[in-house]
């Protein structure tokens, strides 16, 4: 198979798989064709089945954001929410996992802006921010990470490991301050600042509204159910503010907040 495109298909080898929280896992894969290409905010489409599995259920791949990249390895952090993620959590070191990727439009990494950059993540929105911190070395960054409680701060370690300042907030106060990421962001955000946010829709809408009020610019990484992940099915749409729909898999997952209407 010819793979000269910008995205590849490869059987990645499981380097390690660890349960790292109540319901979330760290999965490191050796993926020499894909890992070096990944830009922060991009994702891979994961075939969750064992090697050689003959069967058609579950049918579709599962999209997971890349959390960190080290040479030819990449790490995914994911929560077990259904059968796909459950099956994935059963794969062990040495097994193969088929990936398509890297997919999607990354964060605006190349924009050489000088303003402060806030990386805001909630729950399973935190992992991609680790790569975002790593791939923006020239910028003044602060991470603001939230979850319902300490053990759900999946990926916070990876963000902290990049060395950037990290502010943590949990709903039950079990780590950092008590409250939600917007409570912290409101204290630090100033006009002209930039925010990259990843998390559930409700959080993204609150962050976006705060940015509007503060006159900060805002990018959102949006999750929508996907069938293909590479642009052919038009299944993963989000409404555009100017009308019509954008594909979150190729036009996103990262959008300027002013481009999209999460309720549309």
């Amino acid at each position: 198979m010819d793979q000269n495109g910008l995205w590849r298909c490869e059987d990645a080898a499981v380097v390690s798989q660890q349960k790292s929280g109540p319901d979330w896992y760290r999965l490191t894969l050796r993926a020499p064709a894909i890992a070096p290409l990944v830009q922060a905010g991009q994702f891979v489409q994961v075939r969750v089945h064992p090697d050689g599995w003959i069967g058609s259920d579950p049918l579709l791949r599962r999209p997971l954001s890349v959390c960190t990249v080290h040479q030819d390895e990449l790490t995914l952090i994911y929560r077990v929410v259904g059968r796909g993620s459950f099956i994935l959590s059963q794969r062990q070191a040495g097994e193969g996992i088929n990936l398509l990727g890297p997919l999607g439009r990354p964060f605006p990494l190349t924009a050489a802006e000088q303003c402060p950059l806030f990386l805001v993540g909630g729950g399973l929105g935190i992992p991609p921010l680790a790569l975002a911190a790593k791939q923006t070395p020239g910028r003044r960054r602060t991470a603001i990470l939230g979850a319902r409680s300490k053990s759900y701060l999946a990926g916070a370690e990876e963000v902290a490991a990049t060395g950037i300042p990290v502010l943590v907030i949990t709903e039950d106060g079990s780590s950092g301050s008590t409250g939600r990421v917007t409570d912290l962001l409101a204290k630090h955000l100033g006009p002209g600042d930039q925010v990259w946010a990843c998390g559930p829709d409700a959080m993204l809408m609150a962050v976006s509204a705060l940015c509007d009020r503060t006159q900060a610019s805002c990018w959102l990484s949006i999750e929508r159910p996907m069938a293909c992940g590479f642009g052919v099915c038009i299944g993963c749409t989000v409404a555009r503010q100017r009308g019509g729909f954008a594909k979150t898999c190729v036009d996103g997952p990262v959008f300027r907040s002013t481009e999209v209407n999460l309720l549309g």
Partner: protein, 311 residues
């Protein structure tokens, strides 16, 4: 062992192999084109194309089901002018064989799309495929595909204006598909594509509401293969025009089942989402089957099946 010849002409279109990509499952080919040359596909059936751009449905559009998926894209597409201006010139450069899947809310809209294409006369287009699973706004939203006389009417009008062979893609959501096949064949269809998706739905356990923004959606994927195969079998036993089989195909063996049921080519849809190389794998699988069963060419299998059907 010599080469197996996969060339075949379906309703007069020469194709270099019997595996096509299904409408709505390969967009306009650009994404797959980054992976392999589009000439490797027998043909590419582009996304349903309307006169004006269609926005598609709000809300959630896809959901997974056991061995299948539901979609409620709502035929989002940028319209025929965009196809002519942007997509077809690129497809022509790729040397792709293009089938344009046409949609409309009224007979006049279907006709207008084809006329516009005919006027522009793009050389990459090899055939028109009428998607008659669209709501017929003039008839209160009942699909053209659910009423044989409406299906015949839109086919007749399209046949009158198309310079290309006319394929009509039938809906499986009918009591008996044969009257539809007969009606559109008599109305001038050169070939039939079957099947489109089955109507299904899913309900969210937390909210108690339908999962899809559009309430119902089209069921596709391996789950529907037995239904598609049966309809192809029924139709090839009832009408003489060529049939292209589609529904749940994900391997060469699956495709061969459709050829054995009397189809002359197949389309691959949902399987692309799991594996974008599926059409190539399936083509190679058909070739391996033909070789193993002593056929030097696809034609030889298709003729043998035709002979059995006629016998």
């Amino acid at each position: 062992m010599g080469e197996v010849d996969l060339n075949i002409a379906v309703a007069g279109i020469p194709i270099n192999n019997p595996v096509w990509t299904a409408s709505g499952c390969c967009n306009y080919g650009r994404e797959l084109g980054t992976l392999y040359p589009l000439r490797e596909l027998g043909a590419i059936v582009v996304k349903g194309t309307s006169l004006d751009p269609w926005e598609g449905n709000p809300g959630r559009r896809v959901a997974e089901t056991p061995s299948g998926m539901l979609n409620a894209i709502g035929l989002q597409n940028p319209g025929v002018e965009h196809l002519l201006r942007v997509e077809l010139p690129w497809l022509e450069q790729q040397g792709a064989t293009v089938v344009v899947n046409v949609v409309g809310h009224t007979v006049a809209e279907y006709v207008a799309v084809i006329q516009r294409l005919a006027e522009a006369g793009p050389t990459s287009v090899a055939a028109i495929e009428l998607n008659i699973s669209c709501p017929n706004v003039r008839e209160g939203g009942i699909e053209f595909g659910r009423d044989p006389s409406a299906a015949a009417e839109v086919t007749r009008a399209a046949a009158r204006v198309t310079p290309w062979p006319l394929f009509v893609k039938l809906s499986p959501n009918v009591s008996d598909i044969i009257p539809f096949a007969r009606a559109v064949a008599e109305a001038g269809a050169d070939a039939l594509t079957l099947i489109n998706t089955l109507v299904g739905m899913d309900i969210d356990l937390a909210s108690g509401r339908p999962v899809l923004g559009n309430t119902t959606g089209g069921l596709s994927g391996p789950a529907i293969l037995p239904v598609a195969l049966r309809m192809v079998w029924d139709v090839t036993h009832a009408v003489r025009i060529p049939v292209v089989g589609v529904g749940g195909i994900r391997s060469g063996d699956d495709a061969v089942r459709f050829l054995l049921a009397g189809a002359q080519a197949v389309q691959v849809g949902t399987a692309i989402f799991q594996d974008p190389w599926a059409p190539i794998r399936i083509r190679d699988g058909i070739e391996a089957y033909l070789r193993a069963h002593g056929h030097r060419s696809l034609r030889s299998l298709v003729d043998a099946v035709r002979h059995r059907l006629d016998g």
